[in-house]
Symmetry: C2
Subunit: 757 residues, 2 copies
């Protein structure tokens, strides 16, 4: 089969780079001083019996992060990044994920290396067998597995352009077998460029292994690493041979299970290797990638992109017609490269040159111009061994130590991840509440799919239980009519009033003249004039003790400047509170205070603002739970009303407001006051939300006497709004007070079975 | 208490006309030939034991229509109009509501007049008692009851301006007692203006009543009408006296129940008269209004407005301090007026002049300028008895007969109401589906409240079961997430595809350049290029057999003119059908055909369009189930494509399309094909809707082989859209085929208990 010519077909070219990707990353939990962690796998990560993203591999300390299948390298990196952040934030504070493939200092006694505590007894038995056969220490090595699948479009189009195969399944098997053979033959280049296990901690090897001459490029990919000697007995000549050979090894008891066969390339179909005969090869799994300590994820996007091109080249380049010999050569040269000193020049320069030359040719032929720069970057490393990952590691290890290397990078990654707990790297384009909800979803092991990123639309799956969620709070639990009621302020007020709750009386007007006629109704009342749609309090006038006709008219004019519909509404004296109600329970109460600074008698308003904005929770553009206070026109006006300018120095403890409106989005402070209210308030809020028929609701109360017990008929409250899409992040990360994990509450509301497990 | 001066207070004036209104209208069901109907109360009207709007009064034929309480005269008329339309459309085709107060020709034998068949045995017994005491025939007279309540604002503000009463309840009782007394004194003017029972059918009266000298103004309001002689024994001096007197009459067995007391003005509080001592007087009920045959409702808005002013005047004008004498005078003069010949000038002109003069003064003082014209219109009738209702009736009766009068107007009202079955007069501002839903709600006796007319937001109440409904199809039965899924076309397609359904593959593009790069993917496919938001097919290009790059680009340019986002989507060959699915069942399947006419070889396209538009179901502006076909620019273009112009004469049976798009809103034909599909199609549609988690959904299929049984994997279908707000009227009133009562289905889905009753 001439794949090279197929790849060059006009109809194939548009799909040349389309593929699907998945990553698995193992690493050892260790203490920040470089010793192996002694704690159990974090309980907060839910149950390993079904967790799709965070598992344990051989030992209790060996966390395995597994991404969903992604359509791009960018996407798969985002997934791994998010999953790793969840794992990190679920660890004990003094634990890190060891960033090296070779494990941190292991306990002297083997018994202290704990096999993963799994529910599945057979899995535990298998690990005991591995421990006995290979030794526990060897099982503690970690790495990256890279799953790679050509897109069905690419394969289909290539298939259409040939006539040798009648069935696409056979064509696909042939294609992946070629890639696998060539990868085994040429993987020495991957070991050279990305090998990253030059040394191990003292005491790692038992005596018989002292022949190892450290430093090398990759202990893990050498004969000292985690391999089966039986690999040589498995032929890659065809899928049939491959399957028969593995089957025989298991039948003869040489391997305990098919999955004990540790090839650097696994052919993947269904769950079991034996499924391959029905499914055909669906994708391949590269297993020879060491953890790169210079990137938090253990593998960077350049590496992934290079691997993608390299795999394309594996299909493009010719192979020898004697497959077993071809692969044996590959194994030999790979071991040679793996065991070389990281600074040493290699003896395969001419083959290396050929590989790169042909890759460049391929990129030219396929018009992949962008990718040439990337490949060139790695080509430069062919003659500069000290610039490869192993080379750079050795430079550091020489001056410090392997352990120091692990500690320095591990703690750096930990700090970066713990520093911004409210966000999920890779998903920052989504709303903070959705990021938080995704965090919880990953943590509890609910499988997620992003159906529409911009629209915050998620699909969740746990066993057979599917839920769709939008904006982290719109779910199947609420009925359709409830949000429609809340969306309509007139209807909301009518229903609440009918049910006996206090709501401000108000009217809408569509012209100045019409509104002026209502003057007599309001002359002596406390009332507000406001545009129907208000933005941060613009156009709102409050009359606490009635108004003259002139002032009334002026206020109307101001409001009509902002909107065609103006509301005159009874003014309720008091403080506004947001009650977050979920399934008949108040989960959080929040007080929002307009943007402000407090004087210290020394600094100017401007300096105080700069100081306050240093809070890591404060940012701009809704990327953080609090917004930075601005000093724009509206803020200057507000200062003026308080007889201040930006360079005034407020007195000690003077409360300086920068805004009238209390929105968090204009620099307001969020203060959790959930525990400060007595039960009567929570009961009232729950009842009001029930009257609206809602399950998830942010309901806003004006309260004038927060300490006094309250009931429906009290005059000390009024309900001013009910929100069907209430912000959650402001409760999770308030400026002051206790954070309330609302997204987790919503997740548990959707999946009550999580509590039972 | 000087109410006159209170009414003139500055703070009172803004509320002077604010009040609440309710109407009850009785009428006899009769055959179109003027005989009393012999059928039972229509079964389709649900159960009289709870029906809030349509009841029977004394006899099985005497329908009573009851409006909800309304805040304006306009509103109460709308209610009555809608309720009457529902009643009319629920009758047998040959039945009408007799438009006169005096009953149509009654059967000769009393036994043939059937007492209303009620579930409540006590109510039946009471009617038997009435029949015995007053005679069945007298109970057959019908009229209008008008419930009137001053707004709480008006009463509160008057109360605030006085100091005589400490409790508002006492103030209110005093106010309504004054109105009642004055109304009883001056009601002769109402009898004069609005009396409308000049004669009765032969055989109505038994012998002893032959002293009646027909014609008169109002038999019903005279001593020959339906009155108690005991009325004289009840004093209106105070609420206390009134209650004590009635109580005594019942105690002494003179009246069977308190409600047997038939005053022209009833004081109303709770359900029973005796409740008044707790509740105080909440409103008054005027019971002396005859059915006006010149208006379909039996009372027109001018009459109601005049009554409103007249009741205001009852409060304004002085009364004599001897209440019993005052009322006795009123009763005497009223009987005199009631029994005068309709053409005869009255002998109360000077009192009449004074009343009108004082009413004009009042209107001047209260600055009610508009109302003066109305009052003047009635003032003109004071000296022109033949222009009053009774006068006009006598003119017609002289030339025809009383029976003819009843038949002529009765059939006219019937025709008008049956002619446009799809609309509900008074609620035409609402969508047709909502009008239809309101119809069903009223018919089945579910109490409704319009929370927001523009937003089609209803509250329904049946016993303790409350439901909120928007647009007649958004309900508590659907979960919130289902419509959000359907609103998002990308998400909808993903979910359907994941569940194994066929959906057209498509991509979105935001620039011409980006879209052009996709050319190779579509070059040889059947595909559509369309703006993301399409209006009636503008900007859409279909390529059934691939496209050249030039045509591809041109189509993209056309689409990008209409929207910033353009979709390229697989084109599915076939015909589009709308499946309406409700709660797991296909309730209707509709085929929509683009606006068209069929040639007859004689008429021009233009003439054919005019002809087709004559269909009473066709209108403009979505006011009717079908839209008139236009002959605008798009239609002319479409003709041109068929080598026609508007004055061409198409051949016999030639199908001429006026539009490409099949929307009903651009003149398309709706054709019900529900019964033409085999079960496999319905099953598939139900499963697809279930995959989306929706209870109410309009799902659009493209089908290429409608006769062949189908399943999920069939290639002969594609799902192109799912609608969470599917139009229902087009299924209820299709152009061709059977109408499907979808709004009734929705109502029964919300209230399954309706089926059980």
């Amino acid at each position: 089969m001439n794949f090279k010519s197929l790849l060059q077909q006009k109809k194939v070219k548009p799909y040349i780079l389309s593929a699907r990707f998945g990553l698995e990353k193992e690493s050892q939990r260790s203490k920040i001083d470089g010793r192996l962690a002694t704690t159990e796998h974090p309980k907060v990560l839910g149950n390993r019996s079904y967790h799709p993203y965070i598992q344990t591999d051989f030992s209790e300390t060996q966390i395995e992060l597994i991404t969903p299948v992604a359509d791009s390298i960018d996407e798969v990196s985002r997934y791994l990044s998010a999953i790793q952040e969840v794992a990190y934030r679920s660890l004990e504070k003094e634990e890190i994920l060891w960033p090296l493939s070779m494990p941190p200092k292991l306990p002297e006694k083997d018994e202290e290396i704990k096999i993963a505590k799994l529910d599945d007894f057979e899995e535990t038995l298998y690990r005991q067998y591995l421990a006995k056969k290979y030794g526990k220490r060897k099982q503690m090595i970690s790495g990256i597995h890279f799953n790679f699948e050509y897109s069905i479009d690419l394969i289909q189009h290539m298939f259409n352009e040939q006539s040798e195969f009648e069935k696409i399944e056979e064509f696909k098997n042939t294609l992946y077998m070629k890639i696998a053979r060539n990868y085994l033959r040429y993987r020495w280049l991957i070991t050279y460029l990305f090998g990253a296990s030059p040394v191990c901690e003292k005491g790692y090897f038992t005596e018989q292994d002292k022949s190892l001459n450290e430093p090398v490029r990759s202990i893990r990919n050498s004969s000292f690493g985690y391999t089966n000697e039986e690999v040589a007995a498995v032929s890659y000549a065809s899928l049939k041979n491959y399957l028969e050979d593995i089957h025989r090894l298991v039948e003869n008891g040489i391997l305990a299970k098919e999955k004990e066969f540790y090839s650097p390339v696994r052919l993947r179909g269904g769950k079991q290797i034996s499924d391959l005969c029905h499914t055909g090869i669906r994708y391949i799994e590269l297993r020879n990638l060491d953890l790169n300590p210079f990137t938090s994820l253990g593998i960077d996007e350049d590496t992934l992109r290079f691997l993608h091109i390299f795999l394309l080249y594996m299909l493009w380049t010719e192979e020898l017609e004697t497959p077993d010999e071809w692969i044996m050569t590959g194994n030999l040269v790979n071991n040679q490269i793996a065991l070389m000193h990281p600074f040493q020049s290699i003896n395969l320069l001419s083959e290396g040159d050929r590989i790169f030359r042909e890759m460049f040719e391929m990129l030219d032929e396929l018009e992949l111009v962008e990718e040439k720069k990337l490949v060139d970057m790695y080509y430069q490393q062919l003659r500069a061994p000290e610039t490869t990952i192993a080379g750079k590691m050795w430079t550091i290890i020489q001056e410090n130590s392997n352990k120091e290397l692990g500690i320095i990078f591990g703690s750096e990654y930990q700090a970066a991840i713990l520093n911004e707990p409210y966000q999920l790297t890779g998903f920052q384009q989504m709303e903070l509440s959705t990021q938080s909800f995704l965090f919880d979803t990953i943590q509890k092991g609910i499988a997620f799919e992003i159906l529409d990123e911009q629209e915050q639309f998620l699909k969740l799956t746990h066993k057979n239980h599917v839920e769709y969620v939008k904006n982290a709070n719109m779910t199947s639990k609420d009925s359709y009519i409830a949000p429609l009621i809340m969306q309509n302020k007139t209807v909301t007020k009518k229903i609440l009033a009918d049910a006996g709750f206090q709501v401000p009386v108000g009217e809408e007007f569509i012209s100045l003249e019409q509104a002026q006629q209502a003057y007599l109704d309001y002359e002596n009342k406390a009332f507000v004039i406001k545009p129907k749609t208000t933005n941060y309090g613009i156009g709102i006038t409050i009359f606490k003790h009635g108004a003259s006709l002139a002032d009334f008219t002026l206020a109307l004019e101001l409001a009509f400047k902002e909107d065609q519909v103006v509301i005159i509404e009874e003014f309720l004296e008091g403080t506004e509170y947001r009650f977050f109600v979920l399934d008949g329970e108040v989960k959080a109460i929040l007080l929002r205070i307009p943007a402000n600074v407090i004087g210290d008698g020394l600094h100017t308003v401007e300096e105080l603002i700069i100081e306050k904005n240093l809070d890591p929770l404060r940012g701009i553009g809704h990327r953080k739970p609090l917004e930075a206070i601005q000093l724009g026109k509206l803020e200057q006006l507000m200062l003026k009303e308080q007889a201040l300018i930006s360079v005034s120095i407020p007195k000690k403890d003077q409360f300086v407001y920068l805004r009238k409106n209390s929105n968090i989005s204009t620099g307001g402070d969020s203060i959790d006051v959930t525990d400060e209210f007595n039960e009567s308030y929570k009961k009232l809020a729950v009842e009001a939300v029930q009257a609206l028929g809602a399950k998830i609701c942010g309901i806003d109360f004006i309260l004038s006497d927060e300490k006094k017990p309250i009931n429906k008929n009290s005059k000390s409250y009024g309900i001013i709004e009910a929100n069907f899409n209430p912000a959650m992040y402001m409760h999770i990360y308030p400026y002051k007070g206790k954070g309330r994990p609302l997204t987790m509450e919503v997740l548990k509301f959707l999946y009550p079975e999580l509590n039972e497990q």
